[in-house]
Amino acid sequence: MDPAAPPETSLLRSLAVQRRVLYALMMREIITRFGRQNLGVLWVFVEPMIFTVGVAALWTALGMNHGSNIPIVAFAITGYSSVLLWRNCTNHSLGAVASNLNLLYHRNVRVIDIFLVRSMLEITGATASFAILSILSISMGWMAPPIDPLQVLFGWALLAWFGTSLALLIGAAAAYSHIVEKLWPPSAYLLFPLSGAAFMVDWLPTRLQEIVLLLPMVHAVEILREGYFGNVVRTHYDAGYLAAFCLVLSLVGLYMVREAARRVEAQ
């Protein structure tokens, strides 16, 4: 058998190559980012956990649930975990191409693989952090278990899709122009307070609700929180709008990645 490249490309073979490349890149990413010292790969979820715990403590102290009947710990954990999910994906896509340029000499490694691996890693970290914190808080009695876990999962999955497709777009755009690298971090920072993490749409005046609901992540957080708290909260969302937004974003992102890959200059 010739292991290096297929003489003919069947779908199955392509999938096998794809799986191999993603696995190799994932292992590489884990070793270079987290190293083998101290916690090693565990940092992938320990870091977001530290973030979330800090923010949850801060919000509890500040009473960020604004006197509503939502338990504050659960409000903070659902909110801040959601932010980390889409924001980490995008932040890590910024320098992805630049720091992996030399791997493109291996022909099976393509620019899209580099983005996909980074998003997969971030999604894994954010998901593990969210799950562990939830289980911990539930067992300590700080928050009740979710009313509808499936709906929580649904909202989470949509948000992960949004994060991944936004990461493709931002990462590819950064490969085009360094301005994107400069503009994205402040944009992400400004989007955070608007992203639905720190408020429920229902608390806002109607006029403001309409504006905020233009942002896709707000819909996802509302879906997730309805699943978590059930009828205690009044939610406003449109899953169709969110899905349509993600679909268009994915297509634009994939197109941008293809264009960026054509222009990439190896060393």
């Binding site: 010739d2 490249a5 190799a24 493109l104 000499y105 022909r107 099976n108």
Partner: protein, 217 residues
């Protein structure tokens, strides 16, 4: 077979686009080899990058019906934060090869000793080149890409490379780029000259040599 069809490569510079390769055509059958002569800056390394797939042509296409290596002994295709062993594992995972049986060969060839398990950024240039060459040999490609300028080392290293590549793997195809006509005479069945963006093909190495001498002062 590899076929390069009307490939152009243009880079954007501050003084406008600059064409490095202009309608280049080349065909290489399985088991055959070709040497490409060119002066510094003629576009040899660009051509190698395009064939390896690290970059894409601006226009034209490259078809590969056999497996093609990354540029031989090229240390740049690796991760300096990883150890030599991690790089071996990485390359093997990418190409679907089991790395365990290869460890003795790589350790023996590279003579890295304990450094095999140290991050690559602690390596000297010579160590990096030896590792890079050994990893290129770890995957059994149908066609090797050789940029002669990259394979730097002492006489002993060259001798060992020679054995691995031209004796043990003499059934493979390769594309060798160099500015040194003697290297081509020594190793290649046919030769081309890359001059001012165009690739000139010749049916004999001698004719290529004559053209190279007369066209480039």
């Amino acid at each position: 077979m590899i076929s390069i069809e009307d490939v152009c490569k243009t880079y954007d510079t501050r003084f406008g686009p600059r064409t490095v390769l202009d309608r280049v055509n080349l065909r290489l059958e399985r088991g055959r080899n070709v040497g490409i002569l060119g002066r510094n800056g003629a576009g040899k390394s660009t051509l190698i990058r395009l064939i390896s797939g690290a970059e894409h042509p601006t226009s034209g296409r490259i078809r590969r019906h056999m497996s093609v290596s990354w540029p031989l002994a090229f240390g740049g295709a690796f991760q300096v934060h990883l150890t030599g062993l991690d790089n071996l594992k990485f390359v093997c995972r990418i190409y679907g090869v089991d790395y365990k049986p290869l460890i003795p060969f790589v350790e023996d060839f590279t003579e890295l000793g304990v450094y095999f398990r140290e991050p690559v950024h602690h390596y000297s240039n010579g160590m990096l080149t030896r590792l890079a060459f050994a990893l290129s040999m770890a995957v059994e490609f149908d066609c090797f890409l050789i940029d002669e300028a990259m394979v730097v080392g002492d006489a002993r290293f060259h001798e060992r490379c020679h054995v691995e590549l031209f004796q043990k793997r003499k059934d493979r195809a390769f594309i060798l780029v160099t500015h040194d006509p003697e290297v081509i005479r020594l190793y290649c069945q046919s030769a081309c000259v890359l001059h001012q963006g165009r690739l000139h093909t010749f049916d004999s190495v001698d004719k290529a040599y004559d053209f190279y001498q007369s066209s480039t002062p």
